[in-house]
Symmetry: C2
Subunit: 253 residues, 2 copies
């Protein structure tokens, strides 16, 4: 009998935002494989399961281990937060399965991605065309990232920034804002959500003008912008009212 590698996106992290399918798969597989932080997020919900963790940036090893487990006759869930198909493990897992000419069954289980989870906290910023850009240049040249930011701003698109800031990439978000400001006003609203959909969730609203001045923010506020945060920059019609960030879609109301 063929066994299955499920590539599972379990959403923001809390049980309530997992899909029924993700829950069913994690409950029933023989082994759950993931990066330590992700495993810690789901362990409390499925304490009886077998887990195997690998450190960050060992994506290929993690996938290979999961594939081998399936080849040996187990059903395995390779997990990541958000949607496994958005900057997730689906790509590298499929690539490795193909390279090995492995005949295991692979199923990608989609989840609620971070931009959706963050938008729901802020109000309704994604009612219009938007782009999703990662500010991590580990695997994409910074020039290309910034070109994309500028192209999207030129098209007056809403922007969702994944991985907006790390210790080594302290100022990329400022560079990105400078590109956007070539086309947008300083008053355009920006929503920042940290740990969207998790217990520690926090969010606040700012503007492109204020974010340009990020270097001068107080340390405590600066720290709310890190690898656990999502930055959503509105388009020219986005506004804030009663604490909600809204991009109107043009219905007659």
């Amino acid at each position: 009998m063929k066994h299955t590698l499920y590539i599972v996106g379990f959403g923001p992290g809390s049980y309530e935002h997992m899909t029924q399918k993700a829950i069913d798969v994690m409950k029933t597989v023989d082994e759950i494989v993931g990066y330590t932080t992700y495993v810690n997020l789901v362990k409390e919900y499925f304490p009886e399961q077998n887990y195997m963790t690998t450190p960050m940036r060992k994506e290929a090893e993690r996938c290979l281990f999961a594939i081998e487990q399936v080849e040996e006759g187990k059903d395995v869930a390779l997990i990541s937060s958000g949607d496994s198909g958005v900057y997730g493990m689906a790509g590298i897992a499929l690539q490795l399965v193909q390279e090995r000419k492995s005949d295991i069954h692979v199923e990608v289980v989609p989840g609620v991605t971070a931009s959706s989870a963050s938008a729901s906290v802020l109000g309704a910023p994604l009612m219009h065309d938007f782009a999703t850009i990662s500010l991590s240049d580990l695997m994409t040249p910074l020039d290309l990232i910034m070109k994309r930011v500028e192209c999207c701003a030129m098209g007056d698109m809403i922007l969702c920034f994944y991985n907006p800031r790390s210790k080594k990439r302290n100022d990329y978000i400022i560079k990105a804002v400078e590109k956007i400001l070539l086309y947008q006003k300083e008053s355009v609203p920006v929503g920042i959500v940290r740990h969207a959909g998790r217990q520690e969730e926090e969010s606040f609203l700012t503007t492109l003008g204020e974010l340009k001045d990020f270097e001068n923010w107080e340390e405590e506020k600066k720290n709310k912008l890190d690898m656990f945060s999502m930055v959503i920059v509105g388009n020219s019609s986005t506004y804030v009212k009663d604490g909600k960030m809204i991009t109107p879609r043009g219905y007659q109301i």
Copy 2:
């Protein structure tokens, strides 16, 4: 006691892709309000519930009705497929609540959006920066839509097209492809998924070059491109292998 308007995205349509929260809300509210097609999709899972349907394009009326029900002391779920925060009902509902100065509680419940559901069917096309563009010009001028398409192609971004074709908008997808071809090769893979994540799901792979020639497709194949379809256009590094559409993320494997 304050009652709540839940703006629920129930994902592609099948029970398995609903989040736990969406299920809990739909099970427990006093009334479920939605466009007829959406209500028919969820009714079979929650047959005991009270439903109120309104026709398509009556978004404001539907929201107002839902808000009034909450004001009268009910908990209400205003439902849509996918993620309620992506081209969904979250925006107009929040706008109307604010306009009425209603003091009801509003909660946006995020779901699996159509681009995630479609990507999981095709393989792993969204491993890199991507844009989400609706080809419906009901509420966005066609020129702006096409400008966005061109800007994103210029930035070598993956593109997800919502509402790619209707009877009145037969050729917009061709116009979009022509814009993309100013920057991309004809060989760039395109994945088309219809009814992603539902029982009737079907998908196929094509290329920008073939899609440019859409007018000459056989009628049966043409009909697979409609308002229930999602079109995902790769970037310059996207490829197809063993029937899977993959945008590699640059891991060392």
